[in-house]
């Protein structure tokens, strides 16, 4: 899509080398040695995390125990809609996350590959944010959306539980599509609206200056917490400036606003809209990394729109395999995965489509189940990214490689010369039987 790429290229060229958020993570210090000869690899990555665990029985093909091709395999009921997409699919079982404390949820640890827990701040960047720093630069390097019950999404339109740009630096998921629409497409304005937009921008910059001056004399311990407040203004101001410059390009991708935005019947109305907005951000090139938290990384969630009356924590107490309730939730997830693939396939990119350069990572922030020690952590990958990833396969690992190894593998495929992700050699001695990428996954 020459027009799209050229348009963004010129916008980014105008912005110079502005970066959003922190510098490249320390754990990627060796990434400066980018593999320039590398061919293929993802240009964008989508992480889709369903809460309450991902039971291997609901994704391992029927009668398959060992690794092998999916060609003649029969997918289990909850993911059977992926049958036509088996050549893009890689089902992986046997990664572990025992070091992430995934019982109930590993929270930031699920995508960070480190110890997580309720109320525990992130101890390092998470893989989605790290990728956003190494993939081709975009206006909004990283977009997170969170799906929950309607009440919760309305009352708490943003929560931060899964993604982080560094230690103690959580990234918030957007759950109110109205706010998200304003964020992405507020810059599409002219006339009076334009004046308002600029006045607001000027005001926010002044607020930021005052907030910074008011924090100058705080005790050191308090400055860190206060910095979250002041950096919020900085984020708003930087992003606004960047989206503003791209507004004419973004207009073509803005979804049509309908009554579901303000009058949703079920929470799934908003789930669907959030997905549309996330997809539009990918298709427009606004972002290259999309994180979807179904259940927002916590132990709650609601899917009344699917005819499921039970909600919240109780869903996690149920067995998933053979459970009609969980079949519905998983099938709904799968329908979203298919929609993402189809929409990205509809956008030309280079000699193929956007999907050819996209990796979708589907898993859970809870490993295999709600009360778990994380001995196995099932994952489904969709997309081969120009042949970078093996697809059409089921891989059964032996439970000695951590999820960090998967994240290092994706980074490697993205052109980064890394052997591990968020795991020191000392940690690896205990938690990783191997080193470097997962050869079973990367082509």
């Amino acid at each position: 899509m020459t027009t799209r790429r050229n348009s963004l290229k010129s916008i980014l060229g105008g912005l110079g080398t502005v970066t959003f958020g922190s510098a490249v993570s320390p754990q990627l210090s060796q990434a400066a040695n980018t593999l320039t000869s590398y061919k293929g690899g993802p240009k964008r990555v989508i992480f889709f995390l369903q809460n309450q665990g991902f039971d291997p029985k609901t994704c391992i093909p029927t009668n398959m125990v060992n690794s092998g091709s999916l060609a003649s395999a029969v997918l289990p009921e909850p993911i059977k809609a992926l049958e036509p997409y088996k050549e893009k699919l890689h089902i992986i079982n046997g990664l572990h996350g025992q070091h992430t404390s995934p019982a109930h949820s590993a929270f930031f640890g699920a995508l960070g590959g480190y110890r997580g827990g309720d109320g525990m701040p992130p101890s390092a960047a998470t893989i989605d944010h790290t990728l956003s720093e190494v993939l081709p630069e975009t206006l909004l390097p990283h977009l997170c959306i969170g799906m929950d019950s309607l009440d919760n999404m309305a009352a708490k339109p943003t929560v931060a539980k899964l993604s982080a740009r560094g230690a103690g630096q959580p990234i918030f998921m957007h759950s109110d599509p109205n706010y998200l629409y304003q964020l992405l497409y507020g810059g599409i304005s002219t006339g009076d609206l334009r004046n308002q937009y600029e006045a607001r921008s000027q005001m926010l910059e002044t607020i930021e200056a005052l907030a910074l001056s008011e924090g100058a004399h705080l005790p050191i311990g308090e400055q860190k917490r206060y910095r979250e407040f002041t950096s919020g203004f900085s984020e708003m101001n930087t992003l606004r400036a960047r989206l503003e410059q791209a507004s004419s390009h973004l207009q073509a991708f803005a979804p049509k606003v309908d009554s579901r935005y303000t009058n949703p019947e079920f929470e799934t109305d908003w789930h669907d809209i959030l997905l549309d907005l996330g997809l539009s951000a990918l298709k427009s090139g606004t972002t290259n990394v999309l994180t979807i938290g179904s259940g927002r990384g916590e132990i709650f969630g609601s899917w009344k729109g699917l005819g499921i009356e039970k909600q919240g924590h109780n869903l996690g107490h149920m067995k998933q395999a053979g459970n009609p309730i969980w079949d519905k939730i998983r099938s709904y997830n799968v329908s979203m995965l298919i929609k993402m693939m189809e929409e990205l396939e509809s956008v030309p990119e280079g000699s193929g489509t956007m999907m050819d350069n996209t990796l979708i990572v589907y898993t859970s922030n809870n490993a295999d189940k709600q009360h778990t020690s994380g001995k196995t952590w099932p994952v489904m990958l969709l997309g081969n990214c120009g042949g970078a990833f093996k697809t059409g396969r089921f891989t059964q690992l032996d439970g000695t490689r951590p999820i960090n190894a998967l994240y290092a593998t994706i980074l490697k495929a993205a052109g980064q010369n890394v052997e591990r992700y968020n795991m020191s050699e000392k940690m690896a001695e205990r938690y990783d039987s191997g080193q470097g990428v997962l050869r079973e996954i990367i082509a």
Partner: protein
């Protein structure tokens, strides 16, 4: 001596009579002070001596070997955290083994905490010891007894800090800008009045409502009303759902919250300026004659839409300079009025007057905005920035203007001290007397604080929602509405309830328990004992069955009303109303009056319900009356004695029992843990991740039988401290109804063990016996004081706070159990007044 010592332990061992075995320094130890010691020189020695009998040299009791433990690092941080918890809680070494002396234990646990803080600093940090859940990790006897040998305490202080406002404080603060709350009436205590916290709505949400006190009609039912009215939810978040939610270090404000605050500010400013006109589609919606609007409005189903609502013409929102300022926006801006508006708004958001520099700053912001978008929009936009001022979201306690004393502490003074005292009790800005004290230099000493706190506590018209909030967080009953009960489990109780109906009952029950606490507080004697043993209950209409009480409300008169109206053909729905378009004006008005009479009980439209005169045992509870039409959350309550032998205080209220239950059944572990932590002052280590904490799925088994799995040796070490305290509550079913033992005998036995008080330990027959034992215990009283300290100081206690805790307990006892005396003691303590 159980094993050979490591070489570096010998020098200490030769002085066994002079010092504890594994301590550092000859000088008295100041608890919390960083030790100049590393793993080899200190930690390993303690571990080898006290732990290796079972966990070293090849021994792996409980599948735990410490042979390869090593210094604290990221790979073993969880294990060290567990060691810290086990040693601090005196779970380890086991009772039958050699025990470290108090000084050794304190130094070792302090050392582990410092090591974890140091080594985990760039890996998410170590904060467990600052969590309210770990407050009891300090030995109770050390706080209320003499300090152990070798310990030196220093005069206490709290850290310099900024303390973010809570969602409840924030909403209450914003509510003051747009709603006028009723003045306190001593004849109707319990009804929500000016100064009380904003209540949750009919669904349990904390929302800010716009203009609903002026609504006089709407289309459709209560759901349509709730959808149509303007409201915005709280945007600030809290990290904890249980227990104390507001330690000073908990929360900041993130960018997403800031954006939402700005958006909300715009709505608030417009309402302050224009009232309901800022909410309506048609000016005709502002009318005292809703029928006239019914005749005017476009045809069609408008249920749930803002255009379905009419507002009366009586202006009841607070007067403010915002109103005349924006009313004159079409002409040149009145600079004096603009400055007044900034001062007015700043004082109501930050609770102190702005400095001239702050005024000038906001004038500049407004001028810039006006230049871009004109007077009206510019002033609204510029004024909205005040909502994001640091002091509108955080309360500074930095000791500004004070000089450090000989211990390096600075006493709060003037506005910082005045606002700290104000915040101890109130969510409103300081009243005029407190403000005068601050501005006239009479807010600098302990006696100044005592004077103001005493005045505020003794004046019932000054509402003190923070006191109730303490009890809400201490007893932890407000989550009752969040327990999603299973339909089958509800069916088994014999009450025909759907889960959503039950949830609404619980919202009412939470308000009833609030009220019961306030009834006990009103006497201000033996507060804890009375809260644990009162035989009175506060019963909401239609919730009588939960208490086994027969309905005492008069039967509905709907039937007689219907009989009276039989034969009349009043329109029932909006659709019927369409017919009146063809009627003459007189006929149309008559039909509409009939319609309004049916719907609102008044021919002219909706009239807020009038509360009946106080009489007998009729009382009121505080409910969110703004969220639903016709006040479906009704404040009326009955204060009655529970059926004999069935209830004993807050722990037997349905709200508490349900809050400590789950979807299917009672939750003896949660109940037991609550008693262990909140009344006995004990601690329970975190659940190991290897534990799959589920009871067997046996629908026909009793909870006690299902809990047999917790008796396995691996589990019982912790569960023996919880389960026997929770199982006596089998006296009640999982929705808080008393179980008639004659009809369905249930084993309600239990026991108190390792309470720290010999008079408490022993078996109990049931929950009521258990509660009675706890209620008369001095030990329990001291634990209660510890929790009050945490709430009002916004942090966990340290050993240096021991004198403050002892004095607070003395004040409580000497006053006959007065909550006012306890609060006064805490708020005039060094821990409250000083910062370091």
């Amino acid at each position: 001596m159980h094993r050979a010592r490591s070489p570096f332990s010998w020098p200490l061992a030769i002085l066994p009579l002079l010092a504890p075995l594994h301590t550092l320094n000859a000088e008295p130890y100041i608890p919390g002070k960083a030790l100049e010691a590393d793993y080899k020189s200190f930690g390993a020695d303690f571990i080898e001596y006290y732990c290796f009998d079972c966990h070293g040299d090849g021994m792996k009791k409980g599948d735990l070997s410490l042979d390869d433990l090593g210094p604290v690092d990221e790979t073993n941080a969880d294990l060290w955290k567990s060691i810290w918890a086990q040693v601090a809680l005196q779970e380890m070494p086991p009772k039958k083994k050699d025990q470290p002396e108090a000084l050794e234990r304190i130094q070792f646990t302090d050392w582990v905490v410092h090591e974890l803080e140091d080594h985990m600093e760039d890996k998410g940090g170590f904060h467990a010891h600052s969590s309210p859940y770990k407050g009891n990790f300090i030995d109770h006897q050390l706080l209320f007894g003499a300090p152990p040998k070798g310990i030196k305490l220093v005069p206490t202080a709290s850290p310099k800090r900024i303390w973010r406002v809570t969602p409840l404080e924030h909403i209450t603060r914003l509510n003051e800008l747009i709603n006028t709350e009723p003045v306190y009436n001593p004849r109707t205590p319990g009804l929500r009045t000016h100064g009380d916290a904003v209540s949750v709505n009919h669904g349990g949400e904390l929302n800010l409502y716009f203009g609903v006190d002026r609504i006089n009609s709407w289309s459709g039912g209560t759901v349509a009303y709730a959808t149509a009215v303007k409201s915005v939810p709280a945007v600030l978040s809290v990290p904890h759902k249980h227990g104390f939610q507001n330690y000073a270090h908990f929360s900041a404000v993130n960018s997403a919250e800031s954006i939402q605050i700005l958006n909300k500010a715009k709505d608030i400013l417009k309402y302050m300026a224009y009232g309901p006109l800022s909410l309506v589609k048609y000016p005709e919606q502002i009318t005292d004659d809703p029928i006239a609007y019914d005749l005017f409005k476009p045809e069609g189903d408008d249920r749930g839409l803002p255009s379905s609502i009419t507002y009366n013409t009586q202006s009841i929102r607070p007067d403010s300079p915002i109103q005349p300022l924006l009313a004159s926006a079409s002409s040149e801006i009145n600079r004096d009025l603009l400055q007044q508006a900034i001062i007015y708004l700043f004082e109501r958001l930050a609770f102190r007057p702005p400095s001239q520099a702050e005024i000038d700053h906001y004038l500049t912001v407004i001028d810039d905005a006006v230049e871009n978008v004109g007077n009206e929009e510019g002033m609204i936009m510029g004024l909205s920035s005040l909502f994001l001022d640091r002091d509108a979201l955080f309360r500074p306690e930095l000791g500004q203007g004070g000089e450090p004393d000989e211990f390096g502490r600075v006493m709060l003074q003037d506005w910082e001290l005045g606002l700290a005292v104000n915040h101890a009790l109130s969510y409103l800005k300081p009243d005029s007397e407190l403000k005068n004290a601050i501005t006239s230099g009479r807010m600098k000493t302990k006696e100044d604080v005592r004077r103001e706190v005493t005045r505020m506590l003794q004046d019932d018209s000054i509402r003190k929602p923070r006191v109730l909030q303490f009890f809400r967080e201490f007893f932890d009953y407000t989550t009752a509405a969040n327990i999603c009960k299973d339909q089958e489990a509800l069916n088994k109780t014999g009450l025909k309830l759907k889960p959503e109906e039950f949830r609404k009952k619980m919202i009412n029950e939470i308000a009833s328990t609030d009220r019961l606490i306030e009834e006990v507080l009103a006497c201000d004697q033996d507060i804890l004992k009375n809260l644990l043993t009162t035989q009175q209950v506060v019963v909401a209409p239609r919730n009588e069955a939960l208490y086994g009480i027969k309905k005492s409300q008069p039967k509905s008169t709907k039937k007689s009303e219907k009989t009276k109206q039989k034969g009349q053909k009043a329109p029932k729905t909006n659709k019927d109303l369409l017919d009146i378009k063809d009627d003459s004006p007189e006929e149309a008005r008559e039909k509409l009056q009939q319609f309004h009479l049916r719907k609102y009980g008044h021919p002219d439209g909706f009239h807020p319900a009038k509360y009946p005169a106080l009489g007998g045992n009729q009382i009121y509870a505080r409910v969110g009356y703004r969220s639903f039409g016709r006040q479906s959350l009704r404040p009326n309550r009955l204060l009655v004695l529970a059926p004999e032998g069935q209830r004993s205080g807050i722990l037997t209220q349905p709200a508490w029992l349900v809050a400590h239950s789950d979807a299917m059944d009672n939750h003896a572990i949660h109940r037991g843990r609550w008693i262990r932590e909140r009344l006995l002052g004990g601690g329970i280590p975190d659940v190991p991740i290897t534990v799959d904490a589920q009871l067997p799925d046996e629908p026909d088994s009793t909870l006690r039988h299902k809990m047999r799995v917790t008796r396995e040796k691996y589990c019982w070490t912790c569960h023996e401290k919880m389960d026997p305290l929770g199982l006596p509550f089998e006296q009640f079913n999982h929705i808080g109804m008393f179980r008639d033992q004659t009809k369905s005998p249930t084993d309600t036995s239990g026991a108190i063990i390792e309470s720290g008080s010999e008079t408490l330990d022993g078996s109990v027959n049931d929950a009521l016996m258990l509660i009675t034992k706890l209620a008369i215990s001095e030990h329990v009283e001291q634990v209660f004081v510890r929790h009050a300290f945490r709430f009002w100081m916004g942090r966990n206690e340290t050993l240096h706070d021991a004198p403050v805790l002892q004095e607070a307990h003395r004040a409580y006892r000497d006053s006959g159990g007065s909550m006012q005396a306890l609060i006064t003691s805490l708020v005039t303590s060094d821990a409250f007044l000083y910062r370091r």
